[in-house]
Amino acid sequence: MLKTIRELCRWRDLIRNMVLRNLRVRYKGSVLGFLWTMISPLFMMLIYFLFLRLLRIPIDLPELLIGILAWTFFATCLSDAVVVITAAPSLVKRTPFPKLVMPAAMILANLINFLLSLLVLAGFLAVSIIFFGYRSAAGWSLLALPGVIILNLALVAGLSSFLACLNVYFRDTEHLISILLLAWFFMTPIMYPLERALGSLSPALFSLYCLNPMVAVVSLYRFVFLGTAPPAAAGFYISMAVCLLTMVLGTAFFLRREPYFADEL
């Protein structure tokens, strides 16, 4: 693990340049450019909100926005990850840098977008509190943000390296991932509050539901920004363990198969 981190540090200039490339390329040629990172979650929030109103599913706007932002980061990483190796055969076959750099740079680029979108969230919360009398119990909980982000990153890093590698061997991964993400979306409390899942699932099913690490991640973001109750301790520790385990196993799988990528592409 340490060796891997040291290796990535050695190639930090490459990671930096790849992150810059990803960010530059994403917004080149669009008029609003970087602003899209901030505008699109707001619109998504409004659209979801209107439909959820029609369906009479009650959800708090800030809660919804937090869910959307966390999910967008997660889902973008996973769908980018699946092609991060297969889309660049010449880099893999002809240039000898550690290929873990590729998913790492992709995740960091998405992380920067995510952090910027958190600024939107902060602005939105400020407006809600000042002008609409919204009450947020956030305070000291904000200090937990870095920890939550690290947990989130661990999960994303593990899954991304796993998927990136898997797609080298089974190209079907690319197609399966969008279906998987759709199901995952509904299994995560984004369009509904966590209490609703708690209310409609039997205790046994609910603990199963909590095995989904994104449940903890989204709830933790809500805890950080809104001060809502964090997930129950047991479920939380399990999720944390799942996140860390995912990172260790995912990167280990990637590193084990990496020497053979060039044979397969």
Binding site: K93, T95, P96
Partner: protein, 407 residues
């Protein structure tokens, strides 16, 4: 101590789908890690070493494992068996402009490409001026890459790679990039590397280049080293092998070499003499008519059709293309034919190889190229020795009377 030491190294490839195997079967086989009967050894028990400062050429017919060897030396592939040890930093000119992105400017691409090649941000910044100067891009350096011609992009790629300054340099036929003047320049750069005492391993089909550039040659055939020694002997052995293959009827011609992105593909070729007869032996001094049937998978603008005739030593005897002849073909799509007629071919008796090529106007994209592909046999009645003969008229000029010295 050697720069590169390869010891009993073998590389096995597992084919994704064996011949006649269904997708599902292949998947199960791979899940069960069963060997496929079509797994093949690209390299077998290869051993050789390269001393510091040596320039070693790797030659061999297509599919002999040259590129695999380079990939393993570059450490993008791992050997199945055996070991490879390198001393010093290795840089490869295997992929020019790795990671170039069309939306980024030349400047941004230099930093990206440089870091892919293992240079630090600081190093690239220090060498930046030199890179731009060498690439001859001038103020274009701040325009996005997509506004570049393909020649400019290749020049930029070479310039960054050349700035990497490694101890060991791996080269894969990339010397033939860009236009003629840049080719000369990149060739000079390679010689500079050589004179600076870098260890160089170069893969090429160009025997003239190998002859003039390499100190030693490793000749690979079917994944094995069949010769390792002085350049002249290796090239000689290789050419003799080629000739032996030709003598066996030209089928299974192993120097035959084809590549290209196949946007336009050569479907068939008809070679006849001036009277339209498909003779095995052409008459020296007669006409040669070649009809090339092609299929363009997508509309292609300004294609260039070309040909070359080499002798068995791979010396170019004659070559031309539609561009040189100012015969412009605006665009092609679907199937078609192109025919050219060489009038009074002045070749002397011997065996030759015809190469055909369909490529882009800037010579940077090969659609389909078949090199040393079609054997030609010429029988000439004419006198003389050499490759070509022309009618010779001798004259005996009577000696003028010696002039008397004036008194």
């Amino acid at each position: 101590m050697s720069s590169i030491r390869v010891t009993e190294m073998s590389k096995k490839f597992r084919l994704r789908h064996a011949r006649g195997e269904s997708q599902e079967k292949a998947l199960f086989r791979r899940l069960l890690r069963r060997e496929s009967r079509d797994d093949f050894w690209a390299l077998r028990d290869v051993s050789f070493s390269v001393d510091p400062g040596e320039t070693v050429g790797v030659i061999g017919p297509n599919g002999s494992g040259k590129s695999t060897l380079l990939s393993i030396l570059a450490r993008t592939m791992v050997p199945t068996r055996g070991t490879v040890a390198t001393a010093g930093t290795v840089s490869s000119l295997l992929e020019l402009g790795a990671g170039f992105h069309p939306y980024l400017t030349g400047r941004e691409n230099i930093f990206l490409n440089g870091s892919i090649l293992g240079m630090s941000q600081k190093t690239v910044a220090e060498r930046f001026r030199g890179i731009v100067e060498f690439s001859e891009l001038g103020e274009f350096i701040d325009s996005p890459l997509r506004s570049y011609s393909s020649g400019m992009a290749v020049r930029l790629g070479f310039s960054v790679a050349a700035a990497a300054d490694p101890d060991i340099l791996l080269v894969d036929e990339v010397l033939a990039v860009g236009d003629e003047s840049f080719q000369k320049k990149s060739g000079r750069k390679m010689r500079e590397f050589k004179e600076a005492g870098k260890t160089i391993v170069v893969v090429s089909h160009d025997m003239n280049m190998i002859r003039s550039f390499c100190d030693r040659v490793v000749y690979l055939r079917q994944g094995r080293v069949v010769f390792d020694g002085p350049t002249g002997d290796a090239v000689g052995t290789y050419i003799r092998d080629v000739q032996a293959h030709l003598a066996q009827g030209g089928e299974g011609l192993k120097v035959r070499h084809e590549w290209g992105d196949r946007r336009v593909e050569i479907d068939g070729v008809e070679i006849t003499d001036g009277r339209g007869r498909s003779e095995l032996e052409l008459e020296g001094g007669g006409d040669l008519i070649v009809t090339v049937a092609f299929t363009a998978r997508e509309p292609v603008k300004d294609p260039v059709f070309g040909f070359a005739i080499h002798d068995l030593d791979h010396t170019l005897c004659f070559g031309s293309n539609t561009q040189m002849a100012d015969f412009h073909i605006p665009a092609i799509a679907g199937s078609g034919k192109v025919r050219f007629r060489l009038r009074s071919l002045p070749l002397l008796t011997g065996r030759f190889l015809l190469s055909l090529s369909i490529h882009s106007q800037d010579h940077l994209t090969s659609y389909h190229r078949r090199e040393f592909y079609y054997p030609l046999s010429v029988v000439a009645a004419g006198e003389g020795a050499g490759i070509f003969g022309v009618p010779v008229e001798w004259e005996f000029l009577p000696q003028p009377e010696p002039e008397h010295q004036g008194s």
